[in-house]
Symmetry: C2
Subunit: 337 residues, 2 copies
């Protein structure tokens, strides 16, 4: 099966499962609470769930891995919803922590409803995520459901530890490349590796096979994040929807920038002077490239991409059921936005 065919079949079921689960835990007599949750999920309301929001990459990954491991992907739907909720809980809190006012072109939850309600809505979404996991068919095998719950909770430990690092790096002088790897391992790779492993687990893969899925998801997550960092400086703003060199203007400590700082050359001297005016970011991006940051970043994307593919090869090889997963991987790693 092609990825296109798979996703056109699976995406509506993901949306339906996400919606049903929310409705179940947040009844009619909490209309505003429903509205906040639905709004953040990218829907107009719980009654109109046309998706204007996320790409649902993580739930697709769960389902594709369950399918590739030889399982029935429909059985994995509660786990797919679970990771999507956890991802979205982290975004709601992230937006407060970063003071981000826009997400996917719309006002963030805290801007619309205030910080207090936004924290609480994130907490509720987090709760619903873990509850969703318990909707896996436990009669089949309660040990698998427990293991799945544990995997997701453990990934939240990595997520919050990574988030701790991210917040503390913001005001810390001397953040280095090691710090970066530690941070994105938690912030981005943990939930993707968890998604892949969950699919495998529900597809009844054995421990060894599950580990390959896990490692595949982990490298995929790293490659994905580094690619994001690359796009934040050299991406085509017409495609990314962000300003050119936006990460330079924002003073973010992304991989190319930390590499540049580690060289202690002209770039580092300029950057340390403080906020970079918008008309100087282009010149700084060139300086960064001259000092090798672009090449280094591209090498790192390539390195993690190769690793991801190696593990995917170990996990699914040439299996017919693995085909759409190979496609998704290729798409994610070649994205220009």
């Amino acid at each position: 099966m092609e990825f296109e065919e798979f996703s056109s079949m699976a995406l509506p079921e993901i949306e339906a499962n996400l919606q049903q689960t929310l409705k179940h835990y947040v009844p009619h007599d909490f209309p505003e609470l429903r509205e906040m949750l639905a709004y953040h999920m990218g829907w107009e309301s719980l009654e109109d769930v046309t998706n204007r929001g996320g790409k649902r990459i993580r739930p697709l990954l769960v389902l594709l891995c369950a399918n590739a491991a030889g399982g029935d992907w429909r059985q994995a739907l509660p786990a797919a919803s679970a990771v999507e909720y956890i991802h979205n809980f982290s975004l709601i809190h992230d937006d407060i922590q970063d003071k981000s006012e826009l997400r996917r072109g719309r006002k963030t939850v805290w801007v619309k409803w205030g910080i207090a309600q936004a924290i609480n809505t994130g907490d509720l979404m987090f709760t619903i995520g873990h509850l969703s996991m318990l909707n896996l068919d436990s009669e089949q095998n309660p040990v698998i459901v427990m293991k799945a719950s544990e995997l997701l909770l453990q990934s939240c430990v990595f997520l919050t530890r990574g988030q701790y690092n991210d917040i503390s790096y913001e005001n810390r002088v001397g953040v280095n490349l090691d710090d970066y790897w530690k941070m994105i391992g938690g912030k981005t790779a943990a939930l993707l590796s968890c998604s892949a492993e969950l699919g495998a687990l529900i597809g009844k893969a054995d421990k060894n096979l599950r580990n390959n899925f896990h490692s595949y998801g982990y490298s995929l997550g790293l490659a994905f994040q580094i690619q994001d960092d690359w796009l934040g400086i050299w991406g085509d703003s017409a495609l990314t929807g962000k300003a050119i060199d936006s990460d330079l203007a924002a003073g973010k400590k992304t991989l190319p920038i930390l590499y540049g700082l580690s060289k202690n050359g002209d770039f580092a001297r300029q950057w340390k002077k403080g906020p970079i005016p918008a008309d100087e970011t282009h010149w700084l991006a060139e300086l960064l490239e001259k000092e090798g940051a672009r090449q280094y970043t591209e090498e790192m994307v390539k390195q993690e991409t190769e690793k991801a593919k190696e593990f995917l090869d170990k996990a699914v090889g040439n299996l017919e059921a693995g085909k759409p997963l190979w496609e998704l991987t290729q798409m994610l790693l070649e994205r220009k936005k």
Copy 2:
């Protein structure tokens, strides 16, 4: 066994279990994250866990109910830690939402480390709470562990829905007594009823018996909260550590105040004028009493206390193992601070 004897045996084990669980999920290389978690738990650090903080009522309740249901209370320790973590997660976020600067006489986490880190520390504590539940001995019975996880997560749904109400009532005109019951049912009673039911579940009580423990915890929670509301206006400030009539000065919508507002008399007219100066709260407390709010509040405490005792009687009757639980109940309901 007396309550005193039980708690002097159980409290050190609760502290040890809480501490070990935190250490396990937050390793040495996250010293500041450990510090934040330990600080909020009322410890000096993870190396010096002398408890200067909470009273650990919820974990004690879990253990006492497990014991009363005929189980081995030591087996319930992971569940006891779980509810204490969930309680503390909600306090960390609550303090941000309420802009409270002090808790138990010390600066709150957000005041010391900022809002971004405080949100994240709460998220991590929430995660560790649910992970702790999975430390129950699953080899004995995975279905019980799953059920326990579900109970705790479900109580977090009630908790966050109650918190939603609480936050939205703050700025809403026309909050009434019905709204109040809905709100404290979630905010206070949900976690106490969950604690009691968890103990019963782990003590292998059947569904019917578990329901009695649950209802006991629920009424206990309501009585506890209403008592708190009473103390917030008529409590002896030398004992409560709060200013006299403090809830009046803060403009909180507690039970006596909502009762007073519902009477639409002199109290309501005064209260609606806006913030009450400190030198007028005493006079307003008297007005409130004259209009029947004190009597109504005392009746409600009595009503819920009676219910709690009825259910406790159904659950444990005169069983020797239930004795310390009767004692704790009495202590909580007669507290003056």
